[in-house]
């Protein structure tokens, strides 16, 4: 017996899919709507428009990889499914950024945690950015629709031991905490979501909206990197996009080009990808690329006395917002507590220290507990996020300066995480900082963490949540697009992905991207049919 692969079956049944690497000449295609990027935003948009009878073409830089390619192997998954082999970094290299780069985008590799955009975030956008139409009541139907489409529901199985540690620690300290909803159907509880779902349980774009769009005669061109948009002579609209086809190695250009013409173009290449395409097209604008947010994540490891096997079981099922929604939004940075899945390659790369010290920690992998704090950036006046810019070869880079207000949040979050881990019975705790030793008690931790120097590349920070860079605004000069993702100056261009958010979300962002994408896509569908 082997596992079914509905996407491979669909392709065999004659879906309109083109592999850039298989082309032996330049490609010229025409469609009604061109969607650039097939992640959370692109996938949702494709289904809405294709099912309305529009001729949709999706173009994706990554390859079409399906469940039969997902082998639960980090060394295979990262180069094949992630931007820059999962080693994309901010300009000073202080924050490691995870983003997907395959059909389905980050949704193909994400960890399935599903939160609605917090009400305080939506209200803030109304108050500060004049985006009053995006209040919690107005957004509720779109969240409902996204949840129904993607099977987002309570996860009824017990948390794995890694998540249970967080729950126990919160209980012991009286911190508010809760269970996480997930976008899965018939989940096997394996714990390998980050390497692509081998059983097709995860309701990513790869197995939901993209197959639906293809079923409605949409086309998909993979291994095709969009370089720039083609502007019309009047400079007020776009004609389509052009770029390079990639080889079977997924990375180098094959030498062939593609030219795609469309009535309407949707940019859905993700925060970093979308601003980069606009920058390469010479479509600057004062706000473009600015205010790109990451939910910078600080990390704390603990050695428990019992087996945790944090590589097994649904990766994220417990969270705590105790330090997120209990204090002013624009005060010292709030943070959300979660745990990550723990697999050898990612842990090996992420743990601080070297030699004997890390060897001993790695040997205790089954007892290792890891906790994350996601810092809510973009609300405090000194938290302006980063800026996407282009390297001389045209590839994007995010310059994200680490400010004092962020470091303050990092230190407070380390203290919290160490305290929670000790409260849950940790034997030893180590914050992920090059100069942090293994600590034996909460008292020792408190003392030590207070003294750690806060410098880039001493503290290890990561992010899997890139947001902003082509923000929505109520006034043309204050953002890049309006609340439906319509570009302020190019009339047939929309941005529908995580780059439209004016601040970070303050919760894992996939469901926010889905809901805003549905809202924008329905508006676009009406406009295009009219």
């Amino acid at each position: 017996m082997s596992l079914p692969d509905p996407v491979a079956e669909g392709v065999a049944s004659g879906w309109r899919v083109l592999d850039g690497a298989a082309q032996t000449q330049d490609l010229h295609l025409t469609c009604d709507v061109l969607i650039i990027g097939t992640g959370a935003g692109g996938g949702m948009t494709a289904e809405v428009l294709a099912s309305a009878g529009l001729d949709v073409l999706m173009v994706e830089e990554g390859a079409l990889r399906t469940s039969r390619d997902f082998r639960l192997l980090e060394a295979k998954a990262y180069p094949e499914l992630y931007q820059e082999s999962a080693s994309r970094k901010t300009a000073d290299k202080a924050i490691n950024i995870l983003q997907g780069r395959t059909v389905g985008g980050s949704t193909t590799v994400n960890w399935t945690s599903a939160f609605r955009t917090p009400a305080d975030t939506l209200n803030w956008w109304g108050e500060r950015y004049g985006l009053h139409g995006l209040n919690p009541q107005a957004m509720a139907p779109w969240f409902d629709m996204a949840e129904a489409r993607l099977g987002i529901d309570d996860w009824l199985a017990d948390p794995n031991p890694n998540n249970s540690v967080l729950e126990r620690g919160c209980q012991a300290l009286g911190l508010k905490h809760g269970r996480i909803r997930r976008n899965v159907r018939g989940c096997w509880n394996l714990g390998y979501c980050g390497m692509g779902c081998a059983t097709n349980a995860k309701q990513s774009m790869l197995v939901t909206t993209i197959p639906a769009a293809l079923q409605h005669k949409a086309g998909l061109l993979s291994r095709a990197r969009v370089e720039r948009l083609l502007l019309a002579a009047d400079g007020k609209s776009v004609q389509g996009a052009q770029g390079s086809l990639l080889r079977a190695d997924d990375h180098s250009s094959s030498g062939y080009q593609f030219h795609l013409k469309a009535r309407h173009v949707v940019l859905a290449a993700g925060a970093i990808g979308t601003p980069a395409i606009l920058l390469r097209s010479g479509l600057g604008g004062a706000q473009l690329g600015k205010r790109t947010f990451l939910h910078p994540v600080s990390i704390c490891g603990a050695v428990m006395s019992q087996r945790i096997e944090a590589y097994n079981g649904a990766p994220q099922t417990v969270y705590s917002d105790h330090f997120m929604h209990t204090q002013p939004l624009d005060g010292p940075l709030g943070y959300k507590l979660e745990v990550p899945p723990v697999h050898p390659l990612l842990v090996g790369v992420t743990l601080s220290g070297f030699g004997q010290h890390s060897a001993q920690l790695m040997q205790q992998l089954p007892q290792l507990h890891v906790m994350l704090a996601l810092l809510r950036d973009g609300f405090h006046p000194d938290s302006q996020g980063g800026q996407v810019r282009l390297r001389s070869d045209g590839t994007p880079e995010l310059d994200y300066p680490l400010t004092d207000v962020l470091w303050d949040g990092v230190r407070r979050s380390w203290l919290t995480m160490a305290e929670v881990q000790f409260a849950a019975g940790a034997r030893q705790v180590q914050v992920i900082h090059e100069q942090a030793p293994l600590l034996n008690s909460w008292r020792e931790a408190k003392e030590m963490i207070g003294q750690l120097p806060l410098k880039p590349l001493l503290a290890r920070l990561v992010s899997a949540h890139v947001m902003g860079g082509a923000a929505m605004s109520s006034q043309p000069d204050q953002g890049v697009v309006d609340e439906y993702g319509r570009h302020w100056s190019l009339r047939n261009l929309s941005v529908i992905d995580g780059s439209v958010f004016p601040t970070s979300i303050g919760a894992n962002p996939q469901l926010s991207v889905y809901a805003f994408a549905l809202r924008a896509a329905h508006q676009l569908r009406e406009a295009l049919k009219a």
Binding site: M1, S2, L3, R68, R71, L72, L73, E74, A75, Y78, P79, E84, S85, S87, D92, K93, W188, L190, G191, Y192, A198, T199, H251, Y311, N312, H343, P344, L345, V347, G348, V349, F354, G355, Q356, H357, S358, A359, Q360, M362, Q363, L365, P366, R391, D393, T395, P401, L402, T403, D404, W407, E434, Q435, L454, K455, P456, L457, L458
Partner: protein
């Protein structure tokens, strides 16, 4: 706390040091140990020697299958952006260079004969360097070597890590 301005300054100071090192140096690599015939795309023989010397110290593991680690590092680098590969080229060239090794890494003996304590001292110095650039050099070596080893199933036994049996047999 480090401000943005200081950060840029240390970064620049770092580049100046590197430039100076590159300029002073006669591009003379250490003598090479003959041997390994591997198919490598990115790594040159001098880089291979550096990785073979550093990996056991970085990982704290004796008796590593060094050829496999080197292969893993090479494979990982070929999947990185050209801009990043270029930076790694500079890093390896610098370390392979006698002057670079002596004055920037502080390793007196050639890589092939440097003692573990000398290598550990080098790693510690770069890990905690006031220069962002040297810290990032350390981090690059750390990431590549750890990815190469822990991405290799040969390392899993020592960690007690196993893929879930209930599904492995069903994967084609």
């Amino acid at each position: 706390m480090l401000t943005r301005r200081q950060l840029i300054k240390t970064g620049m100071a770092g580049s100046v040091v590197l430039l100076a090192a590159g300029w002073l140096a006669t591009p003379q690599p250490d003598a090479l140990v003959p041997g390994q015939a591997m198919q490598l795309e990115f790594l040159r023989p001098s880089d291979v020697q550096i990785i073979r010397s550093i990996a056991p110290v970085m990982l704290g593991i004796a008796g590593l299958p060094l050829d496999a680690v080197v292969q893993g590092v090479d494979r990982a680098i070929t999947k990185l952006l050209p801009a990043v590969q270029q930076e790694l080229r500079q890093l390896f060239d610098l370390l392979a260079n006698r002057w670079g090794r002596r004055w920037l890494a502080g390793v007196v003996s050639p890589w092939a004969t440097a003692s573990s304590s000398e290598l550990a001292a080098f790693l510690r110095r770069w890990q905690n360097s006031p220069l962002l650039l040297l810290r990032s050099g350390y981090q690059a070596l750390h990431a590549l070597i750890n990815a190469a080893w822990f991405g290799n199933p040969a390392s899993w036994g020592g960690l007690g890590y196993q893929q879930p049996q209930q599904v492995m047999g069903l994967l084609l």
